[in-house]
Amino acid sequence: MAINLQKGQKIDLGLSKMTVGLGWNPNEGTGYDFDLDVSAIMIDENRFVPQDEFFVFYNNVDSPDSAVHHTGDDPSGGNSDGGDDESINVDLTRVDSKIQEILFVVTIHEAQPRRQNFGQVRDSYIRIIDELTGSEVCKYELGEDFSIETAIEFGRLYRRGGAWKFEASGVGYKEDLAFFLSKYFKGQIIK
């Protein structure tokens, strides 16, 4: 039975191979496609990305330790009607020992010029699926929590006492992907 997570809720996962899936349905009539992007920011004990490739997103779909794989960009939410539009596969057994935490963020691409925000997106959610059984472990529906925001940190996997836990963070910002990245990455960001 899947758990419907509330903001701030933490759970023990008890599994190592999972798919983090993201789905959304755009409202009609905004004139543009809604292009939501899911990204994974893998950070070390200093809360920084240790090298470029530990930021997994549409332009870099694999982390160097092969633990995290982005299955590809869906520029319109049209990949599936009702199912996951973008997903990231995670194998926790392979995560580099330097990495303490994996943050999952969702951002609306070109939100500012397109004047879009999460208030215009319906049925958006993040969920974790057990890769072995295909069953849904937990789901966090973003729907009513956000309106004017354009970027959300919706969950994080983190090490605690030798095991991994998941927290439904649900923190929204009126920002873009570069903003998230700049919090955890010291190098140059080209946007």
């Binding site: 090298q51 470029d52 930021f55 997103f57 549409y58 332009n59 870099n60 960009d73 520029p75 691409h109 992907l177 570069a178 990245l181 990455f185 190098g187 140059q188 960001i189 080209i190 946007k191």
Partner: protein, 222 residues
């Protein structure tokens, strides 16, 4: 290094997003640019009053990197017939003083010193399919020769682009890297890279600017 968040700037060289296939037995990396006419000098140009009339000499440089991201062979010093001594000769750096890799699989077609002419101003040709497996990545760099001395920078360069063309002359990808104010004072740029991935080659536009006009400074990281 830098992370590029711009979409659609990483492509598979063997097959682009339209599903077209390409012949990578040789790939031409073409660089082109135009120089802004006077008046477009920006803050620095006005400040120093220089660089607006002088011709721009942009140089294309390629670093061949191994699996550890290093330039393994830095070549040797060599005395040219005119008596000048050049370094990095016949190593894994392709540039105006060492235009052809000893393997014969990557070379610079010539040194264009003015940016005159439409289309590619400088070209580096790579036989990707023949390239020694020890080479994992090729980094393409463009530097303004003596840019610091001449107060020339990428903020004053227009229509800069990098493109990749396959063996049959089919354009695989073209990226515009034109200057905006963030390029003011920047005299070199990491333009793009080609790298091996899952048995194919990928091409990624980078567009990361640097203040130095000397690629030897950038080479220190590799």
């Amino acid at each position: 290094m830098a992370i590029n968040l711009v979409k659609g700037q990483t492509i598979d060289l063997r097959k682009n997003d339209k599903g077209e296939s390409f012949d990578l037995s040789s790939v031409t990396i073409g660089l082109g640019w135009d120089v802004k006419q006077s008046g477009g000098g920006g803050f620095l140009g006005k400040l120093f009053g220089g660089g607006e009339e002088a011709e721009y000499d942009l140089d294309a440089i390629a670093f061949l990197l191994d699996k550890n991201g290093r330039v393994a062979d830095r070549g040797r010093s060599f005395q040219k017939p005119n008596g000048n001594t050049v370094s990095l000769y016949e190593g894994d750096v392709i540039y105006f003083n060492s235009m052809r890799h000893p393997s014969g699989n990557i070379w610079l077609t010539g040194d264009n010193r003015t940016g005159a002419g439409d289309g590619d101003d400088e070209q580096i040709i790579v036989k990707l399919d023949s390239l020694d497996p020890k080479f994992d990545r090729i980094l393409f760099i463009v530097a303004i020769y003596q840019g610091r001395k001449n107060n020339q920078h990428f903020g004053m360069v227009d229509n800069a682009f990098i493109r990749a063309v396959d063996n049959h002359g089919k354009e695989i990808a073209k990226f515009s890297l034109s200057g905006d104010s963030t390029y003011n004072g920047m005299c070199s740029m990491t333009f793009a890279e080609v790298y091996r991935k899952d048995g194919t080659w990928k091409f990624r536009a980078i567009g990361e600017p640097h203040t130095t006009d000397n690629f030897l400074e950038l080479l220190k990281q590799y």
